[in-house]
Symmetry: C2
Subunit: 413 residues, 2 copies
């Protein structure tokens, strides 16, 4: 497994112009996004089922279909469980309901470790000594942790109102943190300017083509865990819209290199918070025309991106695949977090509550065929967003008693 053997530089998604590998993310002709190109014939020869059987179960096993195959950080990233959600499935009458649980994705407990692992390897190859990002929290954690692993400096820009857990979980790794008086879109715009101007590898700006490819590893794992099959339905939360596109790309690539045992015809369903729903608002209109949300307002801050970079392609994917999308309110998000914990023993952050809550809404509306296989992508860990659970009334008051059996008996447990 070596990078040079399977990747072919960058290619414009629209006009197809080819570029050599560089920290560049848009085409010089039409300003469309650049993507990593692969030599699929070569991938097909190297990434056989026999070869895979000998590799550890983490994201690096799919190295031929990633821009980097040798980690300099995120050494154990990926390889997260696909949980058969028997209890929740039983309540809903869905026998084949699965949860892809990146709440235990190391090192920093979200799927963002996947994209960061790839982009930091590439940053090192390009000679950057500092990496950075615009983040709603999870990416900040991942860049900080993995920059420490790779021996790089990290400069991280976040909206000033992020959850304390995500702030501490960035600073503890020694990263330089800058809080921006604005929404994520302001932070992102500033990062684009910084990337033009300085010698920093901003993982989700000038390293974006490499970065985004890391998300595919979640799709590769889902397909392999389902026995080299794509699910009939996939529901995931959407922020910038990149993840859902890359999950689709992952299934298609596995099909292209001959690893899939059945046809890929996944229906993709996007989930957003009602307080920041630019993509699902378009999907519900049957359109791919995204109207940016100027002032996102939701407890699901990690996906509160008002002007999603990949909103167009995400909405097209959901519409064209026969899927769809919907959004949920803050109380529905919290209820879904609690439901998931109580039925499946998995604690997700608010973004996962968005996925589960939207899924419940789609089931109720008859949009998910209960006889089919459905995968929900749970992208982060509940301990990162405790705040909504700490509001009085959300969890029961626990009684305080003296350590005596008689006091215990009075509780009549």
């Amino acid at each position: 497994m070596s990078t040079a053997t399977t990747t072919l530089g960058l290619k414009c998604r629209e006009c197809g112009t080819e570029y050599k590998d560089a920290p560049q993310h848009v085409c010089g002709n039409d300003f469309a996004p650049l993507e990593v190109a692969y030599d699929y014939d070569r991938v097909k020869k190297l990434m056989t089922r026999d070869a895979l059987a000998k590799r550890p179960f983490n994201m690096w096993r799919y190295g031929e279909l990633l821009p980097e195959s040798e980690p300099v950080s995120g050494f154990f990233t990926g390889g997260t469980p696909l949980v058969h959600a028997k209890n929740l499935g039983k309540q809903l009458g869905i026998a084949r309901l699965y949860l892809k649980f990146d709440g235990v994705c190391g090192p920093s407990l979200s799927f963002k470790d996947r994209v960061v692992a790839v982009s930091i390897a590439r940053a090192k190859r390009f000679g950057f000594t500092t990496v950075g990002c615009a983040s709603t929290g999870n990416l900040a954690n991942a860049v900080a942790a993995q920059a420490a692993q790779a021996g790089l400096k990290a400069v991280i820009l976040i909206p000033k109102d992020l959850e304390p857990a995500k702030v501490a979980n960035t600073q503890v790794y020694g990263a330089t943190l800058i809080k921006i008086d604005g929404h994520y879109d302001d932070v992102n715009r500033l990062c684009a300017e910084i990337a033009n101007d300085t010698k920093i590898g901003i993982v989700n700006v000038n390293l974006r083509p490499y970065y985004a490819e890391g998300s595919k590893s979640m799709g590769f794992e889902i397909a392999e865990q389902l026995g080299w099959r794509a699910p009939d339905n996939l529901v995931t939360c959407m922020a910038g819209g990149s993840l859902i596109n890359k999950l689709s790309k992952a299934f298609n690539e596995l099909d292209k290199i001959g690893l899939m045992l059945s046809e890929v015809k996944t229906k993709f369903f996007g989930a957003q918070a009602a307080g920041c729903n630019p993509i699902t608002e378009a999907i519900k209109r049957g359109s791919d025309l995204i109207k940016p949300v100027k002032a996102p307002k939701t407890i699901a801050r990690s996906i509160a991106i008002g002007n999603p970079a990949d909103g167009y392609s995400a909405s097209r994917l959901c519409l064209d695949s026969g899927g769809g999308g919907d959004d949920v309110t803050d109380p529905e998000i919290v209820d879904a977090m609690k439901l998931l914990a109580r039925t499946e023993g998995l604690f997700t952050e608010t973004a996962g509550g968005v996925t589960v809550g939207t899924f419940l809404k789609l089931v109720k509306a008859g949009k998910i065929n209960k006889a089919e296989t459905t995968v929900l992508c749970i992208t982060g860990q509940g301990l990162k967003t405790l705040d909504p659970l700490l509001i009085p009334g959300i969890l029961p008051d626990a009684p305080i008693i003296k350590p005596s059996l008689s006091e215990y008996r009075k509780l009549a447990i």
Copy 2:
């Protein structure tokens, strides 16, 4: 793999009296602890290296050496990374320094998921419909999460001053939580009375012989990850003293069934907080006589057990193996948490800070041979104990700026 084929009921650790499997933890003759007995000849035939190669990398791969081999919860528990700590090792001049990182152990992000997975499977076999525990936090999270997975009720008793993250991370799973006005030892005593009196499977009381065996899976994994070798030195935090004993047992059992490629001669080093150090206080005196700590006072609440059930055997193990032990203050714990995050990109809870801090002290004192292989056991996740990091001055104040390049430039990053 089936339980019935390799386990032989319970056996008194002192007098050797044999018992049939039952929710019972002390011998009727001498009140000594009961342990699970195995048919090692049979284990040897079933748990070969070839057989292991075909099994997924999680704790259940070692089913023949556990009291239960078929999970009813904790389906993906264990299989955590052993990280080669190259950056920290370089600072200290130790080439072969490894971190066993259970901060990503699922479902609930600590090594307690290992013991709970085994005890809940056993609770179900015994017909319990409710499980419970006395807990300093991590066990509460694990029992709550896995009871939900297994479809059992959970009743959990904790000291009333536990961290909010651990409280919310217990209640979210639907467990009944009772706060006790007292220290952990008061909680534990009450649980012992409850276990005598009611129909609850208290995992760390009447199910203790089964429960404790789950810890061995961490040792099995370490040995396998080192290429079927035990480390020369192992440092771990100690609460009740059970884990360190079971790690030793794990290495010895792998040796007994012929899987080890070199002799087991691990030196065990125990780590505690200075504010609750009953075991290391004894070790430092060269004694196994534990003087209980009546009022533990440390930020490492998850290991603040003043009267450790296995303190005698833990201190004997450290002394007899040629290892030792030490304890660290609260500021040393926080410094160690930060050091681990900044060098290895791994965020541990306070208990892991105790392990790392004590290790640094042992290195400084010349008690760790730098040419040897050393494993540090990091038993839980940093997001569970954020409080000490949120104290002003511990992490830097992040600047807040407007989203403009000129404001960014003024920071002179």
